[in-house]
């Protein structure tokens, strides 16, 4: 029986009346169903990692018309005719990491991002965990890149001046028998090159005292925390320093492909003529793949909601607490069940949840999902009060049906490289993915060995974090620039100097959220209630624009758009 026949039979057996045809080395499903869960289930039934390149699921949801893609307002021809060697599509952590790696080579690299800033989607909307990778199945791309990426973070942190913390992850058994599985876990950990050691019942009790968690567990010391958006910003800034052309508000709308080669890439700012195109488009990576004529997977967006707690609820231990789950640990599950995570900025984070949904950019939270997250995670940390939650957010993971990363030189379209379907542990894996992808691209450009960029400078200086300095260090900084003495965001103690440094940094920073992403102004317990008007003023003055032009998150999102007073009579 062929693979396609097997898929058809599996679908039929489950009563799904949908079509399955061979397509681009894999299978393409077509039809219309009444429930999104069924659509996703069909995709899952069609997976065969050995015999198929992947599942393209074109089954539609009856009565559902997809939300239009969020588009930039900009429309000009400023990029028309622009011809970089390599074009990266997508400014998330994967795209910016690739862009930085590209600048290690002698080539002209460019990156386009449709949003107003880098790292606005999935790369800002995750828990910032540097995963140990213990829950990943051996021999998949996820574990390969996660293990390598985890190791790269120490160097990256030093070079880019972005703090990381190796907090470790403690996985609790939730039943006595689970302890028996430890030898298997240990074996797999050593295969995957992941450090791990058992934690006794007594020791585990120091972390969680709740009944149901008193069977001990194991520790993964290489797990850690990073600010995923700060890391993306730093990667992008360093890449720009080394010659990257970065364009925000720039969206790829189509491609011209001739004789198995991308000739040009259409954008809202004109047509670009790159020699090599890299797909790092996150939840839209299958759409980009389709434009490049090598679609062999489908993104089925998976939403996750996470809650951020007041720093006052900072726990005694920074260790990530999670619970053992057999499906998660066998690599079959699609979420690690979330956990209680301490961010690099020392907020507690609860979540994430996991829910399949047809919308790719639905970043709206719902009360139901938040309740679910709170209920589940407070079992591990019952001292957490709902009133300690200062904010919550939702993100969409770019899951493929194979639930593995796609990191490959396209066998179909010659000058196309994909870093697609990157979901958790994408933050950890990104630096490692970037190494491979950039090297492949550099070889394509040179036609042989990659040629290094002799002027590449791997270092970037971050914005001083005033609140973490000693009084003597602060004094010295204030002497050199008094703006670092003026506190603007009272909750997070962010100074005017830090905010100005963000506005003056190498990427375009002209919105309240772009400032927030870089220096945390407005991320504290008052959520910007006090500092937002001040931040708006600082941005306006620095950029020489009127305060009513300052946006929250890019064009069309002015914070206080009307200024109509004082039209003399």
């Amino acid at each position: 029986m062929t693979y396609i026949q097997r898929v058809r039979r599996a679908l039929k057996k489950r009563g799904f009346e949908v079509g399955a045809e061979e397509f681009n080395g894999g299978v393409r499903l077509t039809g219309e169903l009444d429930s999104w869960d069924d659509v996703v289930e069909c995709g899952r039934l069609a997976v065969d990692k050995k015999r198929s390149r992947g599942v393209v699921n074109d089954i539609t949801l009856r009565g559902y018309s997809p939300e239009p893609v969020r588009r930039p307002d900009t429309r000009d021809d400023s990029l028309d005719g622009y011809a970089p060697d390599v074009l990266v599509i997508g400014g998330g952590i994967v795209g910016t990491a690739i862009a930085r790696e590209l600048t290690r080579y002698k080539l002209k690299a460019a990156l386009v991002e449709k949003e107003y800033d880098v790292a606005t989607a999935q790369s800002s909307r995750n828990d910032g965990m540097i995963h140990a990778g213990i829950d990943l199945k051996p021999n998949c791309r996820k574990v390969k890149y996660n293990t390598r990426g985890n190791k790269l973070y120490d160097v990256l942190s030093r070079e880019l001046d972005v703090p990381i913390e190796r907090t470790g992850q403690l996985v609790f058994y939730t039943a006595r028998w689970q302890k028996l599985v430890y030898p298997l876990i240990k074996l797999r950990a050593s295969k995957n090159d992941i450090p791990i050691y058992p934690v006794s019942r007594e020791k585990a009790k120091e972390y969680v005292r709740e009944p149901g968690f008193n069977y001990g567990g194991f520790m993964c010391p290489s797990a850690g925390a990073v600010s995923p958006y700060l890391m993306s910003v730093a990667l992008a800034e360093n890449a720009v320093k080394n010659g990257l052309d970065l364009f925000v508000d720039t969206m790829v709308t189509g491609m011209e492909v001739k004789e198995g080669k991308i000739v040009s890439v259409a954008t809202n700012r004109g047509t670009i003529y790159p020699k090599v195109v890299i797909n790092a488009a996150g939840v839209f990576s299958d759409k980009i793949a389709e434009m490049a004529r090598d679609r062999h997977f489908t993104i089925h967006p998976r939403r996750g909601v996470e809650a951020v707690l007041d720093k006052k609820s900072y726990p005694k231990s920074k260790t990530v607490l999670g619970r053992f789950s057999i499906s998660g640990s066998s690599g079959k599950g699609h979420t690690k069940g979330g956990g209680v995570i301490v961010t690099i900025d020392h907020n507690l984070l609860l979540g994430p949840s996991a829910r399949e949904c047809p919308e790719r950019e639905n970043e709206a939270t719902t009360r139901e999902e938040l309740d679910e997250v709170v209920e589940k995670q407070t079992a591990l940390a019952p001292e957490i009060k709902r009133s300690d939650i200062i904010t919550y957010f939702a993100g969409t993971r770019a899951a493929t049906y194979e639930e593995d990363f796609i990191v490959e030189v396209s066998p179909v379209t010659k000058n196309f490289i994909q870093a697609a379907g990157i979901q958790s542990p994408g933050v950890t894996a990104a630096p490692a993915i970037a190494e491979d992808v950039a090297l492949w691209a550099a070889k394509m450009i040179s036609g042989g060995e990659a040629i290094p960029n002799e002027n590449f400078d791997p270092t970037r200086k971050g914005i001083p974090v005033v609140r973490e300095m000693t009084p003597a260090e602060r004094e010295e900084l204030i002497r050199s620039d008094p703006d670092f003495g003026e506190v603007v965001c009272r909750c997070e103690q962010i100074t005017k100097g830090e905010i100005l440094a963000a506005v003056r940094s190498p990427l375009k920073v002209d919105s309240v959220d772009a400032v927030k992403r870089r220096v945390r102004a407005g991320m504290g317990r008052c959520q910007g209630g006090f500092c937002q008007p001040l931040v708006v003023d600082i941005i306006a003055k620095e950029l020489g624009i009127s305060p009513e032009e300052v946006t929250k998150k890019g064009a069309g999102s002015a914070v206080a758009p009307y200024s109509e007073k004082g039209r003399r009579v």
Partner: protein
């Protein structure tokens, strides 16, 4: 007999006033803790008054608007017109609290006065 209840807004005591309109048109006010309540109730029924407060634009970048109010009560029906007028003003000099910007503003009988200290930096 026509009875109405009103909450007095003159002071924070917030007396719950009862107003009886006798057939001859006279108003009897009860529930008040002070004489201001009687005046308030009568005004409120016949022709309500309020103090207008708002802001006027200035020509100073460090102090883009100046809070202003009327020196005393004006009729409620004048408030919209006052708001429109005040919103159209641009103050060209720096005022101190209590300084008169315009006497008998829009013929209301009340003066428009500055209430913020523009001599200090706002921002």
């Amino acid at each position: 007999m026509n009875e109405r209840t009103l909450t007095c807004i003159v002071c924070p005591n917030g007396c719950l006033l009862t107003v009886d309109a006798a057939p001859d048109g006279t108003l009897n006010v009860g529930g008040n803790m002070c004489p201001k309540g009687v005046k308030f109730a009568r005004d409120e029924i016949i022709d309500p008054v309020r103090t207008f407060t708002g802001t006027a634009a200035t020509s100073f970048k460090d102090h883009p608007v100046e809070p202003v109010r009327t020196s005393g009560d004006v009729k409620i029906k004048e408030i919209a017109r006052l708001a429109e007028y005040v919103n159209s003003l641009v103050l060209d000099r720096r005022y101190s609290p209590g300084e008169v910007i315009e006497e008998n503003v829009l013929g209301t009988g009340a003066a428009l006065i500055a209430t913020g200290d523009m001599k200090e930096d706002t921002l």
